[in-house]
């Protein structure tokens, strides 16, 4: 029997495993996390007294149902939690499991690696107390902690209002919800957003809740700085009337939407194309998630679509695997899933306009702003490298010259902003800047893995 390996146990990975298992196959499901669910539907440990129904709100049923389905599946698949895939070489995966290196070969590989926050730097963003927006939610769901007592939410994303609501419900003061996209852009995107009315109204409801609770909700802001000596003390910004405003706070949650974690798809041989709506280089897939023979991509790890799209695209990719293995195709189910995935991903395209990546703000960042938090490279150092005679104006060459993007996170955090700084010099759109290539190991691992403390 063909060995099918799924990487990632969020909604996409779980639903793919479910479809394969229903046809009598026994996929291997690899999860870097300790418990299935992924980041969005992350499951708290049993010993954490956290009311997930209250926290998940309108998504509570979906959250509970996904975990019930995983439990029903657990004995029928080979589930491997706490396992990192750090390299892919031909048809071999290199794993690190409980500190030990292993290899695993596959015939079919489905990567559902999920997403992380897209970050735009600003002065002071490396201060303790500044966390990603997704991280602020993880602190709450996984650890039962707020990132601070008085929190500012900055970026451009419908998740700012959602996370702020969760934080307020759990007792945090909300200093401000500050969105860099003007309100007018949100109105313009409305026709596209109406393709998924349930999601749209949920987003509007979160914003409405924030306003009713008296939270300051600003659109069209220009971030200036996060101030503080050794900790976050305030967020300073210019509002849409060009007034400078200062919001005292002890933590900032920063997020400009999500970006797919594509490093493993890159190592597995997917090709990439630039997407001007998301301003990201994304893996090329067919309508069912095939990237090349034997390689399938699903969920937010390939196209941001949210949990529902992830679930449907995982099932869709599983149907592609079944079909490629010679199983009879369930045409009706496949068509329905493809329609659902298409509709939800179109909605995200609308969101990418309503909550836009602030490319012009990034291109205009002052020289002294830290761009690469790992290697301590400023915006000005990157500009200076590009300004030299025969200086590089392509992200991989800029990385080689300046070490921007070469540190521990491998450009996951600074990459999108680096793209805009380089694109501004190259004089084109984001495509002109090139694409930061993925490198193995995709996350740092100890050379002597056995030397790591358990």
């Amino acid at each position: 029997m063909a060995d099918i390996v799924i990487i990632g146990a969020g909604p996409a990975g779980i639903s793919a495993a479910e479809v394969l298992s229903a046809r009598g196959l026994r996929p291997i499901l690899i999860d870097e996390g300790a418990r299935a669910g992924g980041q969005g539907y992350r499951r708290p440990a049993d010993d954490l007294a956290l009311d997930m129904n209250r926290l998940m709100g309108s998504e509570a049923q979906k959250y509970a149902s996904l975990h019930r389905r995983f439990e029903a599946l657990a004995t029928r698949i080979d589930y491997r939690p706490r396992t990192l895939v750090w390299a892919i070489d031909g048809n071999t995966l290199h794993l690190l499991r409980d500190g030990r290196a292993e290899t695993l070969s596959f015939d079919r590989l489905l990567i559902a690696s999920g997403a992380m926050d897209r970050i735009a730097p600003l002065s002071g963003w490396t201060l303790p107390g500044v966390f990603t927006l997704g991280g602020a939610q993880v602190a709450l769901k996984d650890q039962g902690c707020l990132i601070g007592s008085r929190v500012a939410f900055l970026g451009s994303s419908p998740l700012l209002a959602l996370a702020a609501k969760q934080y307020r419900d759990m007792g945090a003061e909300i200093a401000v919800i500050a969105d860099t996209t003007p309100f007018s852009a949100k109105a313009t995107a409305l026709p596209t957003l109406l393709r998924a009315p349930r999601t749209l109204f949920r987003g509007l409801w979160y914003m409405g809740t924030a306003l009713r609770a008296g939270t300051k909700l600003l659109h069209g802001v220009t971030p200036i700085a996060i101030e503080g000596t050794s900790r976050v003390e305030a967020l300073v910004l210019r509002d849409d009337q060009r007034r400078e405003r200062r919001f005292a706070c002890d933590a900032v949650a920063l997020g400009y939407g999500l970006k797919p974690e594509t490093q493993l798809a890159d190592l597995a041989g997917a090709s990439f194309a630039y997407d001007p709506d998301f301003r990201l280089h994304l893996p090329v897939i067919d309508g069912m998630g095939r990237a090349r023979p034997g390689l399938y991509l699903a969920g937010d790890g390939v196209r941001i679509g949210g949990a529902d799209a992830a679930e449907a695209s995982g099932a869709l990719a599983a149907h592609a695997i079944l079909s490629d293995l010679g199983h009879a195709q369930d045409i009706e189910a496949t068509r329905g899933l493809a329609r659902q995935v298409g509709r939800l991903r179109d909605f995200q395209r609308g969101l990418a306009r309503a909550f836009a990546w602030p490319k012009a703000q990034i291109a205009a960042l002052p020289d002294d702003v830290m761009l690469c938090r790992c290697e301590n490279v400023t915006v000005g150092e990157v500009r200076a490298a590009m300004a030299k005679d025969l200086g590089p104006v392509e992200v991989n060459r800029v990385k080689a010259m300046t070490r921007c993007g070469m540190g521990r996170c491998q450009g996951r955090v600074c990459g999108p902003a680096l793209q805009e700084i380089v694109a501004a010099k190259a004089g084109g759109d984001g495509a002109a800047a090139g694409r930061l290539r993925g490198q193995a190991p995709v996350k740092p691992i100890a050379l002597a893995a056995a030397g790591d403390a358990a």
Partner: protein
């Protein structure tokens, strides 16, 4: 001196057994199930200082992607604090420790 204000604020109790760890020689009380990062940030500690210039850092992505929360074991092992649970008796440092016998 005023005790340092904790960055994290716990809003959901943990019911597991207590765990005591040491961080740069200071004793930190935690609960089994805590990540190292939440144990340290709840106690008023920060995690580390940047290799370049020594500015304080306290993690960023909290989901194992940015690697900005590494701390170090006494044996020289590197530990990602946001995804590693505490264990009772753990001895941790903000900086890599010189190996015993490795210096004059």
């Amino acid at each position: 001196m005023e005790p340092p204000k904790a960055q994290f604020r716990r809003v959901a109790a943990r019911t597991g057994p207590p765990a005591t760890l040491s961080f740069d020689g200071a004793t930190i009380q935690a609960t089994t199930g805590n990540s190292i990062l939440s144990a340290l940030l709840e106690s008023g500690a920060l995690l580390r200082r940047l290799e370049f210039g020594g500015e304080p850092r306290a993690g960023f992505c909290l989901m194992g992607a940015c690697q900005d929360c590494w701390v170090w074991s006494a044996e020289g092992g590197r530990i990602r604090a946001c995804t590693t649970p505490v264990t009772d008796g753990m001895v941790l440092f903000a900086e890599p420790q010189p190996l015993v016998g490795n210096h004059g």
